[in-house]
Symmetry: C2
Subunit: 187 residues, 2 copies
């Protein structure tokens, strides 16, 4: 019985882009992977060591003229094979999103309709901010295009994020309406 540990493969996969150091991987995560897979330094550095131990990557100390020393990691043939095997493996179960807003809504008979609506409006606003972020990232990927092979797949993941966020925004609108149908929009 093997463990999945998707984060391991996330980091391994990022080594196939231009990211070679833990710092560069973290930056790429924050830019492009963040909306479906967050990774912290507390995972990255120990995992890079682990990848070397498992012979899925090699490491090289590098001195830079224009910056501090760093370690550069390179995926090995064994690493490429492991990545491809992981890619082909179907996921065992679809993830259950943990949503605190839904949890609160579930128990919202214990509070005023107004308070519930405030909660949903706050959620909707945050969703709209998220949607905007996705659009920015989308443009970044489309304009950068440094790696034309990766770009279409990266855009698919963005499209997913945008669609589901849009669906959530619409749900907010409709649910607010249902909780308080006679409510005006102005103060």
């Amino acid at each position: 019985m093997k463990k999945d540990n998707h984060t391991k493969y996330a980091i391994l996969g990022l080594l196939t882009t231009d990211c070679r150091s833990g710092y560069a991987i973290k930056q790429m995560c924050d830019r492009s992977l963040n909306h479906f897979w967050k990774i912290s330094y507390g995972q990255i550095y120990p995992m890079l060591k682990q990848l070397v131990t498992d012979e899925l990557a090699t490491v090289r100390d590098t001195t830079q003229d224009d910056g501090p020393d760093k370690k550069e990691y390179f995926i090995t043939a064994k690493g490429e094979a492991a990545l491809q095997e992981w890619l082909q493996t179907p996921i065992d179960k679809i993830p259950a999103e943990r949503n605190a807003v839904l949890l609160k809504l579930f128990f919202s008979r214990h509070q005023d309709a107004d308070a519930t609506i405030r909660q949903l409006e706050d959620y909707q606003q945050k969703l709209e901010e998220r949607y905007s972020t996705y659009e920015v990232i989308e443009e970044m990927i489309a304009s950068h295009m440094h790696n034309k092979q990766d770009a279409p797949y990266w855009l698919f993941t963005l499209d997913y994020g945008k669609r589901l966020t849009k669906a959530a925004i619409d749900w907010c609108t409709d649910t607010i309406d249902q909780i308080n149908p006679g409510r005006d929009n102005d103060g």
Copy 2:
């Protein structure tokens, strides 16, 4: 700086339904809360003790004629107040869904289009099963209706699940099309 610990309030909230024992709470979770907040026994029993310690609930040993002994928990006035305060608190950040399918898709230039499509088809099928599950739960809530005050809110959360699942299913269809536009549907 207080901790959120939403699971604490999930359990506290469930005490306001007909659930009084750890076992009953677990059952209710699996039936109605599962699609946005899973809770395991490993959390429930220690947390129920904690609630009593925090004076948010009281406990009573009960012997049943038609079953084994059990402990019954009751929310206190302090518990009700804590629940309502938590309900009113806006969430600090919207949760980032961790999606292994998107993670694999992100790196899918490393495999054949066919393998990627298989992955997406598998995901789509699981999503459709999930959608069906939501419909079953929806009917259960609508037919049971033991608590008419809770029912509308519970149905809102189901509606959310259905809408987002539907959006994901549609995305699968469109993405599969884009990866391999000239592909036939028959073998």
